[in-house]
């Protein structure tokens, strides 16, 4: 095998970061997506736009603003310091926060689509049969919107694995803490260690392809109307 111990550390860290980010996103984005799917509030447009921002912004912009916001002089930094947590840049927790911002639309949008497709009807029927809100969520929403959850999960995970600019700006390149695969590849390339870069980069391509292929297979059969 041509991967060094440092490469493996970076791979492990990347999977941990992507896993944790995805889990947190799925939990936090479910109510948000639900609200976006059903609200008639005039805030729907602006909030949708904010959610979609990471799709359009260069990751370095996102990373730079997070660095400033989470720094000792920024509002988020002031908050975390007052809570006794110190500041978030250069920490794994900081990367999780950054990754959640970066992958937010990839979790929210599939969930929102799924909830919109679901419609109000099944829930109304369940309600007339006496099911409470929690019961309705677990027995109706979760199973019916399952493809949405799977798509959101896979996309968030894959997108976080492929993250580079945000991590570069926030991470400080600390082995085992913030040095993820994409940064490791970049370091190899910059140091002209092209052979090592190829192994990791090739692995990344194979991984991404597999994920996207899996996503195709997971899509439910489209029913003809």
């Amino acid at each position: 095998m041509h991967l060094s111990a440092e490469d493996w550390t970076a791979i492990g860290l990347t999977l941990k970061l992507a896993g944790l980010t995805t889990a947190l996103l799925l939990v936090l984005c479910t109510p948000l997506a639900w609200w976006l799917a059903h609200t008639r509030s005039r805030w729907r447009g602006p909030i949708s736009a904010v959610v979609a921002l990471p799709l359009v912004l260069p990751p370095t912009v996102l990373g730079f603003y997070l660095l400033v916001l989470m720094g000792p002089a920024g509002p988020l930094g002031a908050l975390t310091q007052s809570m006794g947590l110190g500041t978030l840049p250069f920490t794994f927790a900081g990367l999780v926060v950054g990754s959640m911002a970066y992958s937010l639309p990839f979790a929210v949008q599939p969930l929102q689509r799924a909830f919109e497709t679901l419609g109000a009807r099944p829930l109304e029927v369940a309600a007339t049969l006496g099911a409470g809100p929690v019961d309705r969520f677990f027995t109706i929403v979760l199973p019916l919107a399952r493809p949405g959850f799977i798509t959101a999960g896979i996309l968030s995970f894959a997108h976080t694995v492929g993250e580079f600019g945000v991590v570069l700006m926030l991470g400080g390149n600390i082995p085992g803490v913030t040095r993820v695969v994409s940064v490791q590849i970049y370091d190899h390339v910059e140091a002209l260690e092209y052979a090592q870069a190829h192994w990791l980069a090739g692995g990344m391509v194979a991984f991404s392809f597999t994920v996207l292929l899996a996503l195709q297979w997971w899509q439910p059969e489209r029913k003809s109307p």
Binding site: F64, L67, G71, L168, M169, G172, N173, V189, E190, A191
Partner: protein, 257 residues
């Protein structure tokens, strides 16, 4: 409402061709394309502006990490001149036949500084490195950046390299390292003197100017690349870089020769 009629296909075809021609036109003989090490971009902007005024020629500057420029140049990047952050990259390019033999010279010797954005944080002798309880020390990646290598040598000479290593946060180049310190995320870090110097003095925060004998000299070499061979404007710029007006600017940013 008035809608313009769609342009005829012939016209839009011509327009497309013209656009393509603009995009792919070989660089003008009056235009020099320069790859500049991140630490030298500020003085180079001044020097290039003065050169443009004097010569009527045009200079395009791209700043970045020297290692990245090396990779780009070996893959055909259209630079005429490289102002590297080290002396090994230009030498290597020359050996590989990607730079014009005999065109190399040291345009500046970089100086390292331990800097904090906070006034009074770094003392004039750098003792804060031994006594401070800072959580992070920003250093450019020694594997990639000459200033990072110099920082590591300095810490080794002080005998505190191993103790401080766990607190390192590394920038991929000196510009990013500066950003970590400037935003206050790292309370202090090793950056290039040129980044914090304005008009011959440290512009803000507090600093320890690392004595030159603490590390190997950071010799920054310029080289004429193969794409710049026979390009009179490129040679003129390299000549200007060694002139007294240019050297005055370089010195004002804290570089030595």
């Amino acid at each position: 409402m008035h809608f313009a009629p769609p342009p005829s296909t012939a016209r839009s075809g011509l327009l497309g061709l013209a656009l393509l021609a603009c995009l792919s036109a070989p660089a003008d003989a009056d235009e020099v394309s320069v790859a500049v090490a991140a630490n030298f971009i500020a003085p180079m902007q001044q020097i290039a502006a003065a050169f443009e005024r004097e010569s009527g020629l045009q200079v395009t500057l791209s700043s970045g990490a020297t290692g990245k420029f090396y990779a780009q140049i070996t893959h055909g990047a259209p630079f005429h001149v490289l102002l590297a952050a080290d002396d090994t990259t230009p030498q290597r390019l020359e050996q590989e036949g990607r730079a014009v033999a005999g065109s190399r010279f040291t345009y500046a010797v970089g100086r390292l500084v331990l800097w904090s954005a906070q006034p009074g944080y770094v003392d004039a002798q750098g003792q804060v490195l031994r006594t401070g309880d800072f959580a992070h020390l920003a250093v450019a990646n020694p594997k990639l950046a000459p200033y990072g290598m110099a920082a590591q040598q300095t810490l080794e000479k002080m005998g505190i390299a191993d103790r401080l290593k766990p607190r390192w946060v590394t920038g991929e180049n000196i510009a990013q390292t500066y950003q970590f310190v400037a935003t206050g995320n790292a309370p202090l870090g090793f950056v290039a003197l040129s980044q914090v110097m304005e008009n011959g003095r440290i512009a803000r925060g507090s600093a320890w100017q690392v004595p030159a004998d603490m590390h190997e000299p950071i010799r920054q070499d310029a080289v004429l690349l193969k794409k710049g061979q026979g390009h009179a404007a490129a040679r003129a710029l390299l000549g200007y870089l060694r002139s007294e007006p240019a050297r005055a600017v370089i010195r004002a940013y804290g570089y030595a020769f």
